[in-house]
């Protein structure tokens, strides 16, 4: 089996170690064309078409395959992903280089390769007897790889000649943007083109040209040759500088308000100079938001103060800088010694964090121009220059653009068009935009991911029942909101012979279907959570699992992970047991249905008795939890009633809470706590837990002040004290006051986070007043629960472990991603609500509503409209209008506008309108109607404000 291979060695001197690796060359690697007589091997997996039916190319009329080099793959992946481009040979050499250079591109190319309809074939040229090349004396690794690629291209062309008798044999076309490499290839008789040449030759598909990344070759520049920016220093210089402390490394954060200003958050623990302010184009030096940069501190004499000016980049194509300098001077106002901050300039980029950006095209004034500026939706991203012929079609559309580079003589970065999302304001488009902008992975699941799904029809097999208890005889039911398709929990309760109660919480056994390490698992881990938007759900796991096999629907056999307690009638736990199980839910109820069963005296079936038992225990559990200091907080939750035909929201409704809601919640909490204890006991170093840190006392200031104003004494030194204080809030003439206080208290809370038990020693969950907590009950929609399931399964011996599960650093990284995804999901959700609110008011027109003051600011008040759960800011300073007299009292806090004073929780009346002056950033605007303040409020007022988007950010307590 080995004799057919020649044996060669590859020596790599890394460090000072001489490492010798074997490198086998084979003669059984096929060319990838299905049915190739020469290779006579049955092709498994993706293969090239024997007669490629490619798009018409004016350059190569023959049927042909493409063979791109590494840089083409790296930079032109957008093109390669286009369905028109098919039959591409990806060399192993190229793939390895891509893998080392860019993980995201590598993943994308692998997805493309696994798509059978694309006919991409990976040729293992490094192990092929005829295409392996050895590094020669005086040749560097890059040159060797280039040569290896050419050798493979040559081999392919000769191979194709051999297997096809007629003259019209398929050609293999080498695509490279490296002019020297191309010349060498042509010399060696390989048909070679640059990517641009080839794409432009596809006469039938001119739209592809726009997707080409424009890579500015030096000398190929049509731009003005004037150098605008200082040169970036090479990475080695930067690293040395950072080591010696001359430069500081940090994350670049552009300002939303002012395109000429940014801050750099310096990495490291140094308390001093944590934040460095950068002003002016030259100092920003082509850094883009989120890049990792190296900055040099300027001497103190050049330090500046953060400006309060709002500046938007409105320039056209021009590269003139004089204009900018003028603007930069306007920043240098308000020179007050105290306000000066450490200032610096960017000397080099350590790592770009470019992603494709959403935004809109600002068409060039020149009609024939193909170069246009693109304005990203995110104001922190600079405008990008792209080249396109479809400017008129793209106008008014939301599009995606990727940055290719930012040469030092260009005012704007260069980029290329990637995708048209659709018309602005369109619901689908806007949803796509907010998903992209919040970095929510929402592409359809790739083939590779789907390949790990169980084959349908699925049923429980003998094998599945190993290590599993059969609980199908139990009377289990689920209680969820209406129309819920991803049911991850079900419950049961029955009386035991000894008089005690057995209560079971059964959670979908998602970890049975998602095995560690495979593509499905990786994708789920990446997504981290299911994202619920107003009328769309972005699943974490494919639908087959989320809505079918894992969903604990009624009257079908499903696999579950059960947590079973034996309790006495006082809800004291006597015994806790975990087991993998098979269940058969007897009913899927909504909260309302369950409530009805419990309440109606006529129903006495098994399900109802079970529910009553659960309800009784839940009440005791809840009481006990509250006595221990758990907080009951509130946030205004609303649902949109959506028109069934237009899908436009027609009405809003605040969520109703029933006893059954808290019944289910109570048992979920109990299960989570029980599981947290168990996994921490078993894996004290690498249990995945969830904690909720106690907020610093300063967070409560607003709350205490507000209470003082209402003559209430608020204690916030412990969760218990806070809960008691909240309970005491009562006002017969103001019933909503208690809710308002709870809403305000919610805003004081910290974010709850996942963490690995070996990396932290504070486990306390403040909001739930539990010493330890985790997430176990929603594995269909949260990845953290899947890990917890795996840990628990190992703890009870039902499943095997794997290396990453017991690696606390890997686990900590995972937690980091999950926390990020959860935060982003929350933001996306809010953005979705905001968009739908806008739609709602667009249809509804101008309305006047009652509202309560939540916060008082220096020049505005933040109000909440309970009817819509809508929060907004009422500004008292407006552009082009006389400013009213404002007096802000920080102590109270209160704001006096002319003669009217506003306090927290004051009742006001506001007018709600939709401001569409900026197509890309529509917003809800609120203005005061009552109490009337002359010159400020009034129903006649209709001038457009240029206010900022109402502050939407709020920390919401999630258990």
């Amino acid at each position: 089996m080995l004799k057919s291979k020649t044996f060669l060695k590859k020596t790599r001197a890394g460090g000072v170690l001489k490492i010798v690796r074997e490198h086998y060359l084979r003669d059984d690697i096929g060319c990838g064309a299905s049915g190739c007589a020469e290779c006579c091997r049955t092709q498994e997996g993706p293969a090239l078409e024997p007669r490629p039916r490619d798009p018409e190319s004016s350059l190569c009329p023959q049927p042909h395959y493409l063979l791109p080099d590494t840089n083409v793959l790296l930079h032109q992946i957008d093109i390669l992903e286009d369905p028109i481009i098919r039959n591409v040979i990806v060399l192993q050499t190229v793939l390895q280089e891509v893998r080392n250079l860019s993980a995201p591109v590598y993943k994308r190319i692998r997805d493309v390769t696994s798509d059978l309809s694309k006919h991409f074939y990976t040729f293992t040229n490094e192990h092929h007897r005829d295409t392996y090349v050895e590094q020669e004396q005086g040749e560097n690794a890059n040159d060797r790889n280039d040569r290896a690629i050419r050798v493979a291209a040559k081999w392919y062309n000769e191979h194709m000649k051999k297997i096809t008798a007629d003259d019209n044999h398929p050609q293999v076309i080498f695509i490279t943007n490296d002019i020297k490499n191309k010349e060498k290839a042509i010399e060696e008789g390989i048909p070679a083109y640059t990517c641009e040449e080839y794409i432009k030759s596809l006469t039938a598909n001119p739209e592809l040209v726009d997707r080409l990344a424009c890579l500015s070759d030096e000398g190929n520049e049509i731009e003005s040759q004037k150098v605008i920016f200082p040169e970036h220093l090479p990475l080695s210089k930067l690293q040395q500088g950072i080591k010696s402390g001359v430069y500081l490394q940090g994350t670049f954060r552009a300002s939303r308000e002012n395109y000429l200003e940014a801050t750099v958050w310096v990495h490291g623990d140094d308390e001093e100079n944590r934040e460095i302010i950068l002003q002016g184009l030259r100092n920003l030096n082509r850094a883009v938001h989120e890049d990792i940069v190296a900055v040099e501190l300027l001497p103190k004499s050049q330090w500046v103060a953060p400006s309060s000016v709002v500046l938007q980049d409105e320039g056209q194509n021009g590269d003139d800088v004089e204009d900018e300098e003028e603007k930069e001077n306007t920043l240098k106002t308000a020179i007050n010694e105290k306000m000066l901050r450490p200032s610096g300039r960017v000397v080099g980029i350590i790592k770009r964090n470019w992603r494709p950006f959403c935004g809109m095209l600002s068409k060039s004034d020149i009609k024939e121009s193909r170069r246009h500026l693109f304005t990203p939706a995110d104001k922190r991203i600079p405008r990008i220059r792209i080249e396109t012929r479809q400017a008129s079609t793209l106008e008014g559309q939301r599009i995606i653009v990727a940055i290719d580079g930012w040469p030092k003589n260009s005012r704007y970065p260069n980029g290329h068009f990637v995708k048209n999302l659709g018309a602005v304001g369109d619901k689908e488009t806007e949803t796509e935009v907010l998903l992209l902008e919040h970095d929510v992975p929402h592409q359809p699941f790739s083939r590779a991911v789907l390949s790990f799904l169980p084959k349908m029809p699925w049923s429980i097999t003998e094998e599945d029942m190993k290590n599993r208890e059969d609980l199908r005889h139990l009377c289990i039911c689920s209680v969820d909101p209406p129309k819920c398709t991803d049911i991850d929990d079900a419950l049961h309760c029955r009386e035991l012979e000894n008089g005690n109660l057995e209560v079971g919480v059964h959670i979908a056994d998602v970890s049975h279907f998602i095995r560690p390490g495979n593509a499905l698992d990786q994708e789920s881990a990446k997504r981290g959570t299911t994202v619920y938007l107003c009328e769309k759900r972005i699943d974490m796991v494919p639908e087959l699992l989320s809505s079918n096999l894992c969903s604990l629907r009624s009257n079908v056999d499903r696999l579950a992970f059960s947590c079973i307690w034996e309790m006495n009638h006082n809800a004291e736990i006597l015994k806790t047991r975990f087991t993998k199980s098979a269940i058969n839910s007897k009913a899927s109820l909504t909260y309302a249905e369950a409530q009805m069963r419990i309440d109606s005296a006529t129903m006495n079936d098994d399900i109802t008795t079970s529910l009553r038992g659960l309800n009784k225990l839940a009440k005791i559990l809840k009481r006990r939890r509250i006595d221990a200091g758990a907080l009951i907080l509130s946030s205004p939750e609303v649902r949109f009633h959506v028109d069934s035909e237009t899908h436009d929201p027609i009405d809003l409704q605040t969520k109703e809470l029933r006893e059954t809601n808290s019944m289910v919640e109570e048992f979920m909490l109990l299960a989570n706590v029980s599981v947290a204890k168990k996994i921490h006991e078993e894996f004290c170093e690498h249990a995945l837990l969830r904690k909720h840190p106690a907020p610093p006392p300063s967070n409560y200031e607003v709350l205490v002040k507000a209470a003082k104003a209402k003559n209430l004494d608020f204690k916030t030194d412990s969760a218990k004290a806070l809960a008691d204080s909240l309970d005491r809030v009562e006002s017969p003439d103001f019933p909503y006051l208690n809710t308002l206080f709870r809403i305000l208290a919610t805003r004081c809370m910290m974010q709850a986070v996942y963490f690995c038990s070996g990396m932290d020693n504070d486990f306390h969950h403040y909001g739930l007043a539990s010493p330890i907590y985790t997430h176990f009950t929603s594995p269909i929609r949260r990845y953290a629960d899947i890990i917890v399931h795996r840990l628990l399964a190992v703890a009870i011996g039902a499943d095997s472990t794997y290396p990453d599960l017991t690696n606390k650093h890997k686990l900590a990284d995972l937690c980091k991603n999950l926390n990020f995804r959860h935060k982003m999901a929350q933001y996306a959700q809010r953005a979705s609500v905001a968009f739908h609110t806008q739609l709602f008011f667009k249809n509804k027109g101008i309305v006047n509503e009652e509202a309560y003051v939540l916060f008082v600011r220096k020049n505005a008040i933040v109000v909440l409209i309970p009817k819509y759960g809508l929060e907004g800011t009422v500004f008292f300073e407006e552009k082009d209008k006389p400013k009213p007299r404002l007096a802000y009292n920080e102590e109270m806090p209160s704001l006096k506008v002319e003669d009217t004073e506003f306090h927290v929780f004051d009742k006001v009346k506001v007018k709600v309108t939709l401001d569409s002056s900026n197509l890309q950033h529509q917003k809800i605007r609120m203005s005061l109607i009552e109490p009337q303040i002359p010159g400020v409020s009034g129903p006649t007022d209709s001038t457009t404000l240029n206010t900022d988007e109402p502050e939407k950010k709020r920390s919401k307590l999630e258990n």
Partner: protein, 245 residues
């Protein structure tokens, strides 16, 4: 820099082998004249020498002699230059002692020790170059050396390692594959009976996968057997020719 991809989507390992393929094996018996038996084996870049002295009378303390069978005495050592980073001592460390002990157990199971009561058989193995599967190479070399010494054995002892990556069992791990840290199984097989003379597993591996990995390692060991058998026959043929003169 991304970590190493142990098994590509196309099914090739880092060095170009497929999952079940062995490295190139070359071996020779009778390398040294003074020892009673000796052999040398190359499994890819792993190179090992084995020398057998005996059976002879007990050396040193006679109290160690066994009344009913021969004592098998093994020493495992690695040349100081055999590994990537230079070793400080060739033998005497814990790992080497453990290997020696394992070798001894393996060969006590294979050699017909009851034929030589109160005597001693020394097996010394020396790794000249280490590139993964050191134990397996040593066992295979020692088998040939014992055969060369003419000591009767129940069967060949053929050893091979196997690992588990992405749901696939890999046979005969190289050093890079071992260093990646996945589970690995070392196994010594008596091919005729299919009995295992030694089985060792490092790292965690789920029971369900064990069968697959064991199967891969056993198959690899059987392949090794075929090769060793060929080497022995070749050696005997040459020796017979020389004797015939």
């Amino acid at each position: 820099m991304a970590g190493l991809e142990l098994l590509s989507d196309q099914g090739y390992r880092v060095d170009g082998r497929r999952a079940g393929e062995l490295r190139k094996i070359q071996a020779r018996m009778g390398v040294f004249a003074q020892a009673d038996g000796s052999a040398y084996i190359e499994q890819g870049n792993t190179k090992a020498l084995a020398v057998v002295y005996g059976p002879h009378e007990m050396r040193g303390s006679r109290s160690r002699a066994l009344p009913d069978r021969a004592l098998v005495n093994c020493q495992y050592s690695m040349a100081t230059f055999s590994t990537g980073e230079r070793k400080r001592r060739p033998h005497g460390d814990r790992k080497a002692c453990e290997m020696g002990l394992q070798l001894r157990q393996t060969f006590e199971a294979a050699i017909l020790t009851q034929l030589y009561p109160r005597s001693q058989i020394d097996i010394y193995v020396q790794v000249l170059q280490a590139d993964g599967g050191n134990y397996a190479a040593c066992v295979n070399a020692a088998t040939l050396a014992v055969l060369d010494a003419g000591i009767p054995m129940r069967d060949f002892v053929c050893a091979c390692s196997a690992g588990f990556v992405d749901g696939t069992a890999l046979a005969d791990l190289s050093h890079v594959e071992e260093a990646a840290g996945g589970p690995q199984v070392a196994l010594a097989l008596l091919p005729a009976s299919g009995q295992l003379a030694l089985l060792e597993m490092d790292a965690r591996l789920h029971e369900d996968h064990l069968q697959q990995v064991l199967e891969a390692a056993s198959q690899a060991a059987r392949d090794v057997h075929a090769l060793l058998d060929r080497v022995v026959r070749q050696h005997v043929r040459e020796a017979a020719l020389l004797l015939g003169d």
